[in-house]
């Protein structure tokens, strides 16, 4: 039986990328006067979405997706009016078997955090993975995502990835 059901991949135990490159974290968001003004509507922007996903844990290293540059603010597009969010993520290596799991974790965290009106697209940064089309298709298939999230084992793994450390 495949381990993650949805992932259709068998071996997720051994470390694939033993020495990942580390990147500097972004500074905290600068709070402006408007941010604290209750009369101003704060629309969602890419920085806000980035702040939601930056602390997701990598499935195999005690590091965040931001520290591994898997997610970047520049690769997040938010169209508030059209309720569209497109987020691209970059696997650390081009044959990473964790790519679907990482994409799914981003998706689940955004589904739980953002208002239901948003249509969320999670895709691999073009050219950064050998199976990007197949993975993008799985991540975009809401029926398969829904079925995957009814798999308790997989849900546990995802919850570990999106849990914020103390």
């Amino acid at each position: 039986m495949d381990k993650y059901n949805y992932l259709d991949e068998s071996n997720a135990e051994k470390l694939e990328n033993v020495n990942p490159k580390l990147y500097k974290k972004a500074d905290e968001r600068q709070v402006t006067a408007d941010d604290e003004n209750e009369d101003v509507v704060d629309e969602f922007d890419s920085r806000e979405v980035f702040d939601i996903v930056r602390n997701i844990n990598d499935p195999e290293h005690p590091l965040t997706l931001e520290e591994l540059k898997v997610v970047e603010e520049e690769l997040i597009e938010v169209d508030n009016e059209k309720n569209n969010i497109v987020i691209k993520f970059t696997p650390t290596i081009p044959h990473c078997s964790m790519a679907t799991l990482i994409g799914l974790s981003i998706r689940v965290l955004l589904l739980r955090t953002l208002p239901a009106r948003f249509k969320i697209t999670v895709e691999i940064t073009p050219g950064s993975h050998t199976s990007e089309d197949a993975i993008n298709k799985q991540l975009a298939d809401k029926e398969r995502v829904a079925a995957a999230l009814e798999n308790n084992h997989l849900l546990e793994v995802i919850n570990q990835c999106i849990r914020i450390k103390d």
Partner: protein, 334 residues
């Protein structure tokens, strides 16, 4: 342009509603979803009210339901890999039969026009045909023709011909080989460039409409051996050709499509929250038909529309189901 008027919103499901299905007489409608229940709504005067809630048939999401042609049975399929058959022999709908065999999520179910055959399909890439004999269900065929997750199965309106749609971007047509009662794929319909989510035959069964993640609707025409258009038919089998592609109308994945057997109108359910209606032009060439959009109801739902179906008895009446947890009853008029 026509208008799509909201008759009623039916609330009660918790979470996403995946499917709606009208009773063959059109007097009630069933819905199902991630809350693992089937709800049956009946028409009382001008209102639709909940009549029955069926629970405990499945342990996971119920993906689709289908009324038998006689209206006495409901088949439901679930992510729990089973098919449940509900009957009302006791006076109330009860699940007295569970069909097992698929390896994982069952995605779709359909009864043949005579009610003697049931088809199911699954993420395990297979299509199963079950023979129905006095409440006894026997697997007649396991068809492994698709290379990926099979999303939808639908029987032909008048004969025992089956069509399926898949994540492998194709549709397939199956028929029983009378010589050895084996079920064979007689045609593969390729043209879509991503997952085909659903399909629907027209009333004559010589055309079908399909919808896809590639945001298009395609109309396929059957050409029988010896057809007047001169389309060649190798192996003496009918050939299905894509004769029309409707692109540029839908902005996201199209999850469902239904071709009204009474009016010929086509309705679609889209991931951009909109229900749209298409009509064939009156002077349309049958070999190169043209369809135009006659209605696009902005924000029909507040989230993705997953399912749409025309009422089989009352022309213009449509039911839709959405991720927003609601079932809606609409009336279309020109």
């Amino acid at each position: 342009m026509g208008t799509l008027e909201l008759r009623q919103s039916l609330t009660g499901h918790r979470g996403r509603v995946w499917n709606v299905c009208w009773h063959p007489l059109g007097s009630c409608v069933a819905s199902c979803g991630e809350d693992k229940t089937i709800r049956i709504w009946v028409s009382k005067g001008s209102q639709w009210v909940i009549k029955t809630i069926l629970t405990e048939g499945h342990t996971r999401t119920i993906r689709e339901i289908a009324w038998s042609p006689c209206g006495n049975y409901i088949a439901s399929v679930s992510f729990d890999a089973t098919v449940a058959i509900w009957d009302k022999k006791s006076g109330q709908f009860e699940c007295n039969t569970t069909l097992e065999g698929h390896e994982n999520e069952v995605k779709s179910v359909s009864w043949s026009c005579g009610g003697q055959l049931l088809a199911t399909c699954s993420r395990d890439k297979s299509v199963w045909v079950w023979e129905v004999n006095d409440d006894d269900y026997e697997c007649a065929a396991v068809i492994n023709a698709h290379s990926q997750d099979v999303k939808k199965v639908r029987w032909h309106p008048t004969s025992d011909i089956l069509a399926s749609a898949s994540y492998d971007n194709s549709l397939k047509i199956f028929k029983e080989d009378t010589a050895d009662s084996d079920w064979l794929c007689v045609s593969t319909l390729t043209s879509h460039t991503s997952t085909v989510w659903s399909l629907s035959f027209n009333s004559a069964g010589d055309r079908l409409a399909s919808c896809s993640d590639d945001r298009t609707v395609k109309i396929w025409q059957e050409y029988k051996p010896g057809n007047e258009a001169g389309i060649s038919t190798p192996n003496d089998e009918p050939v299905w050709k894509c004769v029309c592609t409707l692109s540029g109308y839908h902005t996201r994945t199209i999850y469902d499509i239904d071709w009204c057997k009474k009016t010929g109108l086509i309705v679609t359910a889209c991931g951009d929250d909109i229900v749209r209606i298409f009509k064939e032009e009156s002077d349309s060439d049958p070999n190169q038909p043209t369809f135009s959009m006659v209605c696009s109801n902005e924000t029909s739902h507040t989230q993705d529309v997953n399912s749409v179906q025309w009422n089989p008895a009352e022309p213009g009446l449509v039911a839709s189901a959405s991720d927003d947890g609601e079932v809606k009853i609409w009336f279309y008029s020109d």
